[in-house]
Assembly symmetry: D2
Homo-oligomer: 334 residues x 4
Amino acid sequence: MSAINVGIIGVSGYTGLELVKMIHTHPVFELSYVANSEGGTTLATLHPSLAKVCDMQVHKADPKEASKLCELVFLALPHKTAMAVAKPLIEYGVKVVDLSADYRLELDTYEAYYTKHTDKENLKNAVYGLPELFKEAIKKASLVANPGCFPTSAILGAYPFLKYRKADTPLIVDAKTGVSGAGKKLSETTHFVHVNDNLFAYNPLSHRHAPEIAEKLSLSKEEVHFVPHLCPITRGMISSIYMQVKEEFDEKKVLEECYKDEPFIRIVKQPVDMKNVAGTNFCDIFVKRQGDLLFISSAIDNLQRGASSQALVNANLMMGLNEDLGVPRIAYVP
Amino acid sequence: MSAINVGIIGVSGYTGLELVKMIHTHPVFELSYVANSEGGTTLATLHPSLAKVCDMQVHKADPKEASKLCELVFLALPHKTAMAVAKPLIEYGVKVVDLSADYRLELDTYEAYYTKHTDKENLKNAVYGLPELFKEAIKKASLVANPGCFPTSAILGAYPFLKYRKADTPLIVDAKTGVSGAGKKLSETTHFVHVNDNLFAYNPLSHRHAPEIAEKLSLSKEEVHFVPHLCPITRGMISSIYMQVKEEFDEKKVLEECYKDEPFIRIVKQPVDMKNVAGTNFCDIFVKRQGDLLFISSAIDNLQRGASSQALVNANLMMGLNEDLGVPRIAYVP
Amino acid sequence: MSAINVGIIGVSGYTGLELVKMIHTHPVFELSYVANSEGGTTLATLHPSLAKVCDMQVHKADPKEASKLCELVFLALPHKTAMAVAKPLIEYGVKVVDLSADYRLELDTYEAYYTKHTDKENLKNAVYGLPELFKEAIKKASLVANPGCFPTSAILGAYPFLKYRKADTPLIVDAKTGVSGAGKKLSETTHFVHVNDNLFAYNPLSHRHAPEIAEKLSLSKEEVHFVPHLCPITRGMISSIYMQVKEEFDEKKVLEECYKDEPFIRIVKQPVDMKNVAGTNFCDIFVKRQGDLLFISSAIDNLQRGASSQALVNANLMMGLNEDLGVPRIAYVP
Amino acid sequence: MSAINVGIIGVSGYTGLELVKMIHTHPVFELSYVANSEGGTTLATLHPSLAKVCDMQVHKADPKEASKLCELVFLALPHKTAMAVAKPLIEYGVKVVDLSADYRLELDTYEAYYTKHTDKENLKNAVYGLPELFKEAIKKASLVANPGCFPTSAILGAYPFLKYRKADTPLIVDAKTGVSGAGKKLSETTHFVHVNDNLFAYNPLSHRHAPEIAEKLSLSKEEVHFVPHLCPITRGMISSIYMQVKEEFDEKKVLEECYKDEPFIRIVKQPVDMKNVAGTNFCDIFVKRQGDLLFISSAIDNLQRGASSQALVNANLMMGLNEDLGVPRIAYVP
């Protein structure tokens, strides 16, 4: 198969680096353009671990330039910046996988939780890039909104059981995440001394990923109760989901049936842990029941399945490739 | 005030060490007897950090010997072993604070979750040593059952809101604990390589602390849904509690009112964290509401408020002293 | 004994917090003044762990105001700022323990490694506050320059063996430190994701603590080879010292003899570790020999013996108190 | 190229797992036999992260059986056990890469530091598998002794400068290692609570890797002074090497010249760190000079370059393949 040229805009951060690492070894994609906001540097200068692996010039982001060199571009940019770049790229006929929040939500919800939307036209046609739920639509999409990390783990855990859910009961997602989800930006919250040997909730019941979870599960915002906790861990995420259900059913069978053809979901018999999925696109899911309450535990790598490797799966689908092509499955264990 | 002689049986482990450290600097208690299962060693041999601080002979545990030297003895022993030692101590007229599970539960529950009880007589008279709930009874007790770490954090968080709780809804406790709670014993679960940069639930919905939480909150076992998670942290514990409530009320006011005279409860305005309570007897509590659901976050040091410093408060009360005498309030921060 | 009023200027950082915690429980010192660069806040706002422990108004630093309220003031300020505050304090007759580098070095060395000195007068009379080496001078001093953390651990380890040192051989100090030594300031180097599961040397052979080590050991700068490494640890410091020696002698006996009357030095038989000294003023030292080479391993808590608790010992000495009054000896173990 | 069948004996541990992960994606090697001491299990049972990735039957180790299925076998076994298996494998005509210490040392040294050697015949012909030093011999070898992790990092750092070394001066190696080097075995030293937020030297000046370093650098045992430190890190190793040198030369040029054709050595301008090599076969080396002393800092992944990926390079060479075939170069960053 002839190579497909792809680019990455926003290559300085953690998710940009993950994309570089995967595309560098991808059997079909060829990395033809990388950019960040300033340019004038190289990949191995930004990321010393890429020395002798994959070095190339990093440009100042320019959608037109990118469109000449790429059939598809990954945007690893903050929200707001992302839509300003996606809009011209789509116009130039380039396919886009956007890792930001800009095309994930209905307009009203987006503007209530983020900022004014400046690309409503494309927002209408954007597909939410959670392959297990929207695979066929992703295949035909020009613009895929890559899901948030918390929504990915929460939705994949809750989705199989929605039809058994007791109406008018709260869906509770108690999530635990590593620090890389906060990005490279310096803040008191990411200072080693503050995080090490510590753990705390942040934005409890008011995090912006809650409406994303609700919308994609077709629940109202009021039904989803989402509390993330920051943990002294570099990468990894577990959503502990509590759902009240209305009748007897075999919860393990339901789970297995739901995902039986999915290459990146593993139903596990022991409670999930973070390391078994670190570095991969897997989502491991465990379920157990006590009375009317389901406990569902869903683990992903926040930077991979929660961002970059899921973006790669989406790109594979959009370009007519097998979804698992070049997608990492071997965990950072031990 | 003249010194009161106290002893510790089970001085090799983490909670034994914490007791030594606090009694060594206590203004009234004098450490007159320390023992473990083998004897023939010294405190500073067992715990090198005690060199030049507090060294003394460690005896092979002998209740009779202890009774000659102590008015009160702390038992930092595994369950089953504890009741075998407590029984003669009580008989010899010594007061006992037992850090194990042996005297915490109703007989039936105990035998269902632990083992056959061999000291039913004293079990009847034992007082559950959670000072905020049972202070007056503790003052008169000869035998105090020191609460488990998870129950301490969960009960202190849930208790103030019980009367607002919607009947027949699940009380969910999603707890996060440091590794010291598992003790010094070697196991795959406490191997550094297994725990570091990792996180996982264990015994979800079937941990032995669940019936303890239920019993002390006067709930049925079926109503309490308890899932602990192990975190790459040495000491600290947070219980994230989710409770459905039936009417509008001012949750912060209720919390403050409930604990307004308590020296070791702090109501905090930001989500609790583990480090602010590490090394102390404080329980920090945060509450927030979304619709009918309360999120209560309650942090303690699992070795102190979850074991040793709470035992010291109980001992203070049992001996007619101020409850906060010699009890640590200055956190291991940073 | 009647209380002695003391103050702390620079109360926002880690060393300021440590000073507050110790003075709060000190039997003679009374905390009468605390300040930082802005003022207008309280201790418990700056440091939430002090809630219900020790709250008081934090003032905008003002030497004159401090001089009215205090007999002695601790300066937990950056270098350069410290001497600007120390100078008027000394003028007003207040004793000063300065935790910065401003009064530690000979003028030439200071100006070569730091900045222009603006208080040369007091520099002449300042005493280097390493009690084991300069106790008598400290007792009479009005201004004590509290040693740097690396020099404290390196000097205490190397000092007993200097007379056996082979001339013209390098003294090598390979140090390992926790992250709190870098302070609260945000930087790439203190970002959790950068430090966690990582380790690296920084400023190898060119760190500013090297000339301090050399000067206090009466060695030339060329003889001291100092390489610090940053470790994923909050607090703690170990200096691994390699010294070539010229004759046979009993290295353990030399060490024990040298420090036999010192309350805060422990000679240990197993290699030192960081946790056994965490939270305390102890310096644990281990020595072993292979041929002509001594390996000396010296552990301290970088925030306590490397800063705040050593400052408290100095203050005790300066005020005619026992050096160990209120100085922590009980480690953060486990 | 047609597949080459290889096997792994000792597949339960960390290095066995690393081998499985690499061979699974290797373009030429085919994993045809895996075994441990008990058998009767599968790879994904032993290592849950291999579920849906690479599952196969794990046999009870049997050299004869292995010899029927494999052209080359990796031994990821403890010393002593390894030679008992290597001997028959060699006899059956199978090539062997032994990750244990059994064939690394001269007979006398081996027996002085380990145990009685039971396969002296093959010991004579074994080649020390450090590719940068012994590439041509490895290509022709039937039995390669894969180097120890500490020797790998120390030798690669020191080797280029040996000819400049001042005679009769100590070569000092102050090494820092993650905990995975200690293996899966439970011990007090690998308990999370003991290691977390801690650091300590172990076996200072008496570790068994010291004679290995000496022998391969053609130094006497007395000249090498080796002190390893255990760090709260899962994987990674840095050797800080101090060498006295006798004349002026350009240390960076010497280093670059020495390794200019080596695909797995990177000369870096900033001090090395552990994360940039984690998961890879790279050895990053930094050098700096002060007077007559060189500071050389050399970083590897203890499980990969220090064991499994280096074993794979050796296997590639022994089978006539390119040394870098299937060898990981993309680091676990962040």
